[in-house]
């Protein structure tokens, strides 16, 4: 049992780290990672929803009839996302304004539904919540990483603080949408090369 918890806890950080290895949740990863702060905020909001939705869905997994399970999952996830949106507006207003429509869109983030269907519906609540924490933190780390790369190279700042010195000419292309594709593609390529070198399977579910 202890083994399974440790395994689940670390899986989200490398074995199935989203979006690189799970290859789910790419849309917010492309859209909101203009800066490290946005990436971290989005990642933590998703992690929060993921943990609670995994917990709720797992506790109800024997009650929810199989035929309406997806509908029930969506209702539960949508409720949690709306609560996150209300909380963010109440306490992190500027971040909520910047993330804008992408907060409500966590509802259709494939990671949340994917983990609900693929993990929480088959495992007990505690392990499912561990899985939510692990995958959520993995996602937050990934988004912060993408955001940091784009912000440092594209604007010369990190979490809003200048880090590159006076003479640095920002590659502003990286902050715009195409820069997100290039950044994520490059990280994906490096990750795949590394996996091949270690002899692992490239992409794991």
């Amino acid at each position: 049992m202890g083994n399974k918890i440790t395994e689940t806890l670390t899986a989200g950080l490398w074995k199935r780290i989203p979006p690189f290895r799970l290859v789910l949740g790419l849309c917010p990863a492309l859209a909101v990672t203009m800066s490290a702060e946005n990436g971290l905020g989005m990642g933590l909001a998703t992690a929060f929803v993921l943990t609670l939705s995994n917990g709720a869905i797992s506790s109800l997994r024997n009650i929810i009839p199989g035929k309406v399970r997806i509908a029930s999952y969506i209702v539960i996830i949508a409720t949690l996302v709306s609560i996150v949106e209300i909380l963010m507006k109440a306490y992190f207003f500027t971040l909520a304004e910047q993330l804008g429509i992408y907060i409500p869109l966590i509802v259709v983030n494939c990671i949340v539904l994917g983990r609900a269907e693929g993990f929480a519906s088959k495992n007990p609540p505690f392990v499912s919540m561990i899985d939510g924490v692990s995958v959520g933190i993995g996602y937050a780390i990934s988004l912060t990483l993408i955001g940091s790369i784009r912000e440092i190279l594209g604007a010369g700042t990190w979490f809003g603080n200048p880090v590159m010195g006076e003479s640095f000419e920002p590659i502003s292309f990286l902050v715009s949408a195409p820069g997100a594709f290039v950044t994520i593609g490059s990280i994906l390529a490096i990750q795949n090369l590394f996996s091949r070198w270690r002899g692992e399977k490239f992409i794991q579910g």
């Binding site: 009650i63 009839p65 029930s72 539960i76 409720t79 709306s82 209300i86 909380l87 306490y91 304004e97």
Partner: protein, 195 residues
Amino acid sequence: MSEIIRMVVILSLISGFSAAALTIANVKLGPQIERQTDLYVRGPGLERLFGKPAKEVLGNKVVLNVDDTAVPVFFTLKDQVVSDLAIEATGKGGYGGDLKIMVGIDLINERQTGMEVVSHSETPGLGARIIEVAFRRQWQGLPIDAPVALTKDGGQIDAISGASTTSKAAVNGTNDVLDFVRENRDEILRLISER
């Protein structure tokens, strides 16, 4: 058959529970969200209208209910007398929907102190130029007893070129505020003195 009933009951239970949770969250955090909106959305405009830091004026707020709509009114005091008001209004008929504007009223000199845009969804480069100071400063010093109008209608406000619909919406909103002040002045002062 019983399976169908079970599905319906469980889905309804989940939905009901979700609705309850959302209602609680909304009711509990509504005032906090309102404060944050005041600070970040109305704050910058209020700072310019009153010439004071937003934190000082945000607390000075009364809400009037007229025809089932809540109108937020901000005020500032000078020697214990209400000197300036900032009243929010909807500028109906913008190009991309209604505008939300705030008009400053100087009650002592009976003049307008300015117009600020709280939120809009106008075309960038055309109607969105409504937030530029060159357009907004036309309101400074206008009387509050006469309605404002665009120059093409014989008034004082030069429309933004290419965006007369947006300019008209701002003018409409202002006239709503002027009417509102004329009709509810005593009520506003009474609410403020009761605080």
